[in-house]
């Protein structure tokens, strides 16, 4: 009657072969053991040989009398001993192999040795033999069956009391004493908390400081001297709003904020782990993320597409392609290609998907429950395997099957074919991406309608005269109406531009027109009607009509041929599953790229563009694996979601598709207590330095409580009301008075709140690695703001890094494009990023480290890239017809976005004299101009090296 785990495994696909339904198959699962007729002799055996040992050796920790029940296991009732604890049944009547109790008393397993050493250690051999005998005879047990429910169930009702697991609550805006200070409700929440502690905010930041802050925060680049000047001069109360709208509409916004998401999505372009193979198509997912932020794709939709894009209906092939690219989220994780056991490999991929999804979206570590119920958060193992069933029913396409060292790859996959761009015949690896579904031009500057947005100064979107986007060009375009401000405001660029042949200039200008507004560019004011209609949360795309999905069945050519069917049935389970995954549910081979196609095949040998991503595979529920080991198969758990986060009905899982779509909809449902809060908190963190919940990657019981819970909830609710618009959220936060505060604390405030938890001044923040590198390129005038098509990894193609592909290909890239486009290969991150605490790409990272270490100093002092940028900046400054003093001023403006003080000017002048004199003595030929040029170069480098360059005040 009982089946060994291996026979169950073999059995599963057979059920599928005969087209049995979920219900019938559940009925075929081993039934709970029926109470054996207890024979008196057996009772005697139990009472004499077994019960005394249990009582003596085990009850201390495993009975209802125990002060603390260990491992959720009770051995003092029949039910308890058979149901077992966290790791599974202690005793399976008649089955020695499955009985964990026997394993424990045998001391076979280092981690499961009972009784423990301190309680007398291993039992004598004859006692162990008694237990074996007892289990072999069916574990007769006369003890009451129903005395106590032995299995410790997590108390979800109790667990739900933690703030994290409760739906966000609207809170009244608190009253403040200083009613003149706040510009928005966010300010009122914060000010009220400060006033309660006797604090008051410091003065506002000066204009250049504020502008530098907002440029780096929104687009990751510094403002040009001309932009600073324009902002300082603009006395309009809407000056900041205008800048913010221009920045939000620029394509650089997505490059900055998309990268924040890529940190949490553990984005990388190689497998990492022990055999590090390239992912030459990963960059398409990177670009999809950037485009999504630029288009202000509603965050709920952003999540749904990444988890279930392949299951969404699409209007056309291009949209379907975009939806597939989104699922790269699930495919770009680490892969242990050297794993011999296919099942372990598969469950590791599933684990990566559960871990990344739960941490990136929910800020919770669900993956703890792979091996045991979560120790701190109310997430039982069965929830993990409910999710595992969803991802196990999914096939992940990640490639690594190219010619580069396939012999060393035990787990190669393929890719998903995208629609080839019309009329193009390009080879894989160097293809031009299909145009993004929502190019940057579709970006919709958010409008000030939200209650949290500053009430007074924000211009009404419908009034063209004061519309920020319309007003901005008037400010910046005056100087050189023909040129995009990006060029006009950057002298080095303007110079280069002027030298271009007329045709090139025209082309360049034409591109600016098409590509949408650049930084500070003349963005046409979007008509209010152009604002993307906000889909109501319940309007999340619904699954395709049922008619497109049919029961998984055997392909006709096998089903109709008894010989083949027989051979097929004889294949190992994993091969049968892999084979079936190549066919749609109607038994026909899968195909892709067609309108509304629900499933996607592997790309095989096709040469068109390909993507990493997922598609539904063989749909089934997963079994709990005891302690996470594939050999330790336990009960099958229906596919489902995290119970503690489910308010009301849990979503029903479809029998014929994986359930990813239902999972994605559940994640982004307005009742989900975490998704909106976690995102709002991340945005807050990127703008203010620390999250309202400072443990941004951990909203569980071991995380910190929010510093202002009412504010967090209010923002989360507002975020959802604003159709999950990230741009609106950012806009509303940047336009608060709090964001505009000065950085220096006063002594009194420092006494009360030294850690600035109440945000009464701006916290100093170090720029991240990308911004530091990009800022040097801006200062040198060398930055190339065109998005990179592809990536160094795409050019390199498939292969095994370290064998045939040199790591230096990725760590030492000499490029002038933005840092977000540098290759991100696991274990071989470019030096410029690695040194400044780039997010470890094998891990989900919500908050990057900030360190100040000697290798950074050595990099800035000695690295050739840094020296080259300094030298280019110096050459540009020296080419201007300016006095030495004016040049120093320009250098400060270029590198630090501010004017130097008189003392600083004097110090710089002296330095330049001294250094030039010293250099003249040592450089070849000793020419004074060369010495002066080099001294200028070292001066510009010193500006890059200064703490001020990498900190926001």
């Amino acid at each position: 009657m009982l089946m060994s785990p291996s026979s169950i495994r073999v059995f599963l696909p057979l059920v599928a072969l005969f087209g049995l339904t979920q219900a019938t198959w559940a009925a075929l699962q081993p039934a709970p053991p029926v109470d054996p007729q207890v024979d008196p002799a057996q009772v005697e055996f139990f009472e004499k040989r077994i019960r005394p040992v249990l009582a003596d050796k085990c009850y201390k920790c495993h009975s209802s009398e125990a002060t603390k029940v260990k491992g959720g296991l009770l051995l003092d009732t029949r039910e308890g001993i058979r149901n077992g604890g966290d790791t599974g049944p202690a005793v399976v009547p008649g089955n020695a192999k499955e009985s964990l109790l026997l394993k424990a008393i045998h001391w076979q397993d280092k981690d499961l040795r009972m009784p423990p050493e301190k309680d007398g250690g291993k039992l004598p051999d004859n006692v162990i033999a008694d237990f074996e005998k007892w289990i072999a005879m069916g574990a007769p047990d006369p003890r009451g069956a129903g005395t106590k429910v032995a299995r410790r169930e997590m108390d979800l009702t109790k667990a739900k009391k933690l703030w994290t697991f409760q739906t966000p609550q609207a809170a009244p805006v608190p009253a403040v004493k200083d009613t003149a200070w706040p510009k928005s409700d966010v300010d009122r929440f914060l000010l009220a908390a400060q006033e309660a502690k006797g604090l008051h905010p410091v003065a506002d930041a000066d204009r250049p400081t504020l502008l530098r802050r907002v440029y780096f925060d929104l687009i990751g680049l510094p403002p040009t001297p001309a932009q600073i000047e324009a902002f300082v001069k603009d006395k309009s109360p809407y000056a900041l709003a205008k800048v913010v709208d221009v920045l939000l509409a620029s394509p650089q916004f997505g490059e900055r904020w998309g990268r924040h998401w890529l940190d949490t999505a553990r984005y990388a372009e190689s497998t990492g782990k022990e055999r590090n193979f390239t992912f030459p198509e990963a960059w398409r997912y990177r670009d999809w993320v950037i485009a999504a932020f630029n288009a202000d794709k509603p965050y709920n939709q952003f999540i749904v597409e990444q988890i279930a894009g392949d299951l969404l209906p699409a209007k056309n092939a291009a949209e379907h392609d975009q939806n597939i690219l989104a699922t790269g989220f699930l495919a770009v994780g680490t892969k242990g290609l050297n794993e011999k056991n296919k099942e372990i490999f598969k469950m590791d991929v599933v684990d990566d998907q559960i871990d990344t999804t739960s941490r990136a979206v929910l800020g919770l570590t669900v993956a703890c429950a792979r091996c045991h119920d979560h120790k701190f958060d109310p997430i039982p193992t069965k929830d993990y395997y409910a999710l595992a069933g969803i991802f196990r029913s999914t096939t992940t396409y990640y490639g690594t099957n190219g010619p580069g060292g396939a012999a060393k790859n035990r787990n190669a996959s393929t890719l998903i074919a995208l629609t080839p761009p019309a009329g193009t015949e390009k080879t894989a690896g160097a293809v031009k991406p299909p145009p993004p579904a929502a190019p940057a031009t579709a970006a919709t500057p958010p409008v000030a309608t939200a209650a949290l947005v500053p009430a007074s100064p924000a211009p009404a979107p419908a009034a063209p005269a004061t519309s920020p986007a319309a007003a901005a060009p008037a400010q910046v375009a005056e100087a050189q109406p023909q040129l995009p401000p990006m060029i006009a405001n950057n002298p080095a660029m303007a110079e280069r531009f002027a030298k271009l042949p007329p045709k090139k200039r025209e082309q360049l200008l034409a591109r600016f027109g098409k590509a949408g507004p650049q930084i500070g560019a003349a963005a046409p004011a979007p008509a209010p009607s152009a604002v993307a209609p906000a889909p109501a949360p319940e309007a999340v795309p619904s699954p395709a009509p049922a008619s497109t999905i049919t029961a998984p069945s055997l392909p006709a050519f096998i089903a109709n041929d008894p010989e083949k069917a027989k051979k097929f049935a004889a294949l190992p389970a994993s091969r049968r599953e892999a084979f079936l995954a190549k066919f749609a549910n109607d038994g026909k081979p899968k195909f892709a790229g067609k309108q509304g196609a629900q499933t996607t095949p592997d790309a095989g040998e096709t040469t068109g563009p390909k993507a990493m991503g997922v598609a539904d595979g063989y749909v089934s529920d997963a079994a709990i694996l005891i302690r996470g080991e594939v050999e330790g198969r336990g009960a099958v758990v229906p596919r489902g979601v995290v119970s503690v986060l489910t308010m009301g009905e849990a979503p029903a899982m479809p029998a014929k598709s994986s359930g990813r779509l239902e999972l994605a909809q559940w994640l982004t449902a307005p009742e989900n207590p975490l998704t909106a809060r976690v995102m709002v908190n991340r945005v807050w963190q990127h703008l203010f330095g620390e999250g309202i919940v400072r443990t941004a990657d951990n909203f569980g019981a071991t995380g910190e409580e929010p510093t202002n819970a009412a504010l967090l909830d209010t923002l989360a609710l507002q975020f959802m009301r604003d159709s999950w618009s990230v741009k609106k959220l950012i806009r509303s936060l940047v336009l608060t008075r709090t964001y505009q505060l000065g950085g220096a604390p006063d002594a009194r405030g420092a006494e009360i709140d030294p850690d600035n938890r109440l945000l009464w001044h701006a916290s100093s923040r170090r720029l991240d690695a990308e911004a530091i590198r990009d800022a040097m390129l801006v200062a040198s005038g060398k930055i190339d703001l065109r998005p990179l098509e592809g990536s160094v990894v795409a050019k390199t193609g498939d292969g095994y890094i370290g064998r045939g592909i040199r790591p230096e290909t990725f760590t030492n890239v000499n490029a002038t494009y933005r840092s977000v486009y540098l290759p991100i290969v696991r274990d071989f991150v470019p030096e410029a990023l690695d040194i400044f605490d780039f997010a470890e790409p094998s891990l989900v990272v919500a908050t990057r480290d900030v360190t100040n270490v000697p290798v950074q100093a050595l990099y800035l002092l000695n690295n050739s890239f840094v020296r080259e940028q300094a030298s280019a900046m110096a050459r540009h400054i020296l080419a201007q017809p300016l006095s030495q003093t004016q040049r120093i001023t320009l250098a400060y403006q270029t590198a630090l976005s501010r004017l130097p003080t008189d003392a600083e000017r004097a110090r710089a002048e002296q330095y330049l004299i001294d250094e030039a004199a010293g250099l003249a003595a040592v450089i070849k030929g000793g020419k004074a101009e060369d010495a002066a040029a080099l001294s200028w170069s070292t001066f510009c480098q010193a500006l890059f090296a200064s703490a001020e360059f990498r900190y926001l005040k």
């Binding site: 055999r275 951990n698 420092a750 006494e751 480290d849 360190t851 100040n852 690295n863 090296a945 900190y951």
Partner: protein
């Protein structure tokens, strides 16, 4: 394979994240003054993350030199004497699929030193140090595949990105010489990834600094960004002075303690770029010393340079030094290739032990030798052995371990550890214990959980302590 351990993701909660602490590399007067003005935070909290830290209990070793033999050296041909295997040479083996034959060691063993440890003729010079060696003959690990086992040997986990043991040691103890990297790895194999010396979720300040790579001449190895080709030291100092005056201005106006860290990082960097090339420069060593390591001519030259450099780093106060010799994967041609490997490493290792002892460093330097696993006593190919994770040998010397000791053992043939087994996790727990660190207390909070090098495992092999 059945005992594949899934790493536990949840352990005990601890008090505070150390992130804020680690933001500043140094706690100079400005920071302290600011802190004392504003908060009662103890001075200890604002310490430099690399500053020497007190161990949990008195340490037996202050530093580690790990002689990593990548590929899986055959224990039954080197340090695990198996007379029964020799006796049964040619009998059927147990390898899956059948057809394997037991392969008695083609090398002679002899009892060496006062202690009478059995050591193979392949290591004549190391054998002279028999009474310093503590043979761990019951080693075992989980996975008999190079990449996974190698990474598990270094980080404890083959499955997840975790910090390497050197990073943990540096995190736990800080460094004795801030002018040098605290964790150095010389000539690591590239194809197994930087994770073997990475810091994963620990701050990057704890990651290993790589010098050279396998199959490259370590003599020409350098650390990047150590020199500005355009500026003399003097002129660069002027430039740094300008940077520092700007930094001090910023510190004065913003009171941002992290700026203090930046200031300190420049001073450290300036000293480091002066000191590191000196430590790596072997030219000041006497001809006798160079000859003792086999540097000059002969097969031991390359590894000799690595070992000598390791001694120089140890002497200079580096906390964790790894040197790597690859190519111990003898599926065939065992006799010739193993002989060659041992010829390339025997003299340098012996010289390192002699040298450390002569300088009084061996007593507090833990020297560790071994690979990611061992080899099978049987094989299907003539003159070859396959991977064996179930039993093998590593050895320790110096740093508070009992010399002349054979601890643990495998069965008669060397298939499996049967006596006092020491798993990779146990080895890690033991190394940390020798350094004065409790492997259960050395934790780091990441994603809401406290992680350890040993995950939920690890038993300290106390019996080997002096």
């Amino acid at each position: 394979m059945n005992e594949r351990p899934y790493e536990c993701r949840g352990v005990t909660p601890a008090a505070l994240t150390r992130r804020e602490l680690l933001r500043t590399v140094s706690a100079g007067f400005g920071w302290l003054a600011f802190k004392s003005l504003t908060t009662a935070a103890s001075a200890a909290e604002s310490r430099n993350p690399l500053a020497p830290k007190a161990p949990h209990f008195p340490a037996r070793a202050k530093r580690v030199i790990f002689l990593c033999m990548q590929g899986g050296p055959a224990h039954m041909d080197t340090f695990d004497y198996k007379p029964k295997l020799t006796e049964d040479d040619g009998k059927p083996g147990v390898a899956k699929g059948g057809g394997s034959k037991l392969y008695g060691s083609p090398f002679k063993f002899e009892q060496r030193g006062q202690s009478g440890l059995w050591i193979s003729e392949l290591f004549p010079k190391v054998a002279e140090h028999a009474d310093e060696l503590c043979l761990l003959r019951g080693m075992n690990t989980d996975i008999p595949n190079h990449p996974q086992a190698f990474i598990q040997l270094h980080t404890g986990s083959a499955q997840f990105a975790r910090p390497s043991m050197g990073a943990w040691a540096l995190y736990g103890l800080g460094t004795a010489n801030e002018n040098l990297p605290g964790f150095v790895t010389i000539s690591p194999p590239i194809q197994f990834g930087a994770q073997n010396y990475g810091s994963a979720f620990l701050p990057a300040v704890y990651q290993g600094t790589r010098l050279g790579a396998q199959r490259a001449d370590v003599g020409s190895a350098s650390i990047s960004n150590m020199r500005n080709p355009e500026l003399s030291t003097e002129l660069q100092r002027k430039q740094i002075d300008l940077v520092q005056s700007m930094n001090r201005d910023l510190l004065a106006t913003t009171a941002n303690p992290e700026v203090e860290g930046v200031i300190e990082s420049y001073e450290l960097a300036f000293r480091m770029q002066a000191e590191l090339p000196k430590v790596m420069d072997l030219s000041k060593e006497s001809p006798a010393t160079l000859a003792s390591y086999g540097i000059g001519s002969g097969p031991a030259g390359e590894f000799g340079r690595q070992c000598l450099m390791a001694r120089r780093f140890a002497e200079a106060g580096v906390r964790f030094i790894e040197v790597c010799h690859a190519g111990w994967d003898q599926h065939q041609q065992l006799q010739s290739k193993l002989t060659a490997n041992c010829a390339a490493t025997d003299q340098p290792i012996a010289a390192l032990l002699t040298d450390l002892k002569a300088r009084g460093l061996l007593e507090d330097t833990l020297v560790m030798w071994g690979g990611e696993f061992g080899r099978t006593p049987d094989g299907r190919r003539p003159d070859g052995r396959d991977h064996n994770a179930k039993g093998y040998t590593m050895w320790l010397a110096g740093g508070g371990v009992r010399g002349g000791l054979s601890y643990g053992g495998t069965d008669d043939y060397g298939y499996k550890a049967v006596e006092d087994p020491v798993h990779t996790h146990d080895l890690h727990a033991t190394i940390l214990a020798l350094l004065g660190l409790d492997h259960e207390k050395l934790t780091y909070r990441y994603a809401g959980r406290d992680f350890r090098l040993t995950d939920v495992h690890g038993t300290v092999a106390k019996a080997i302590f002096t």
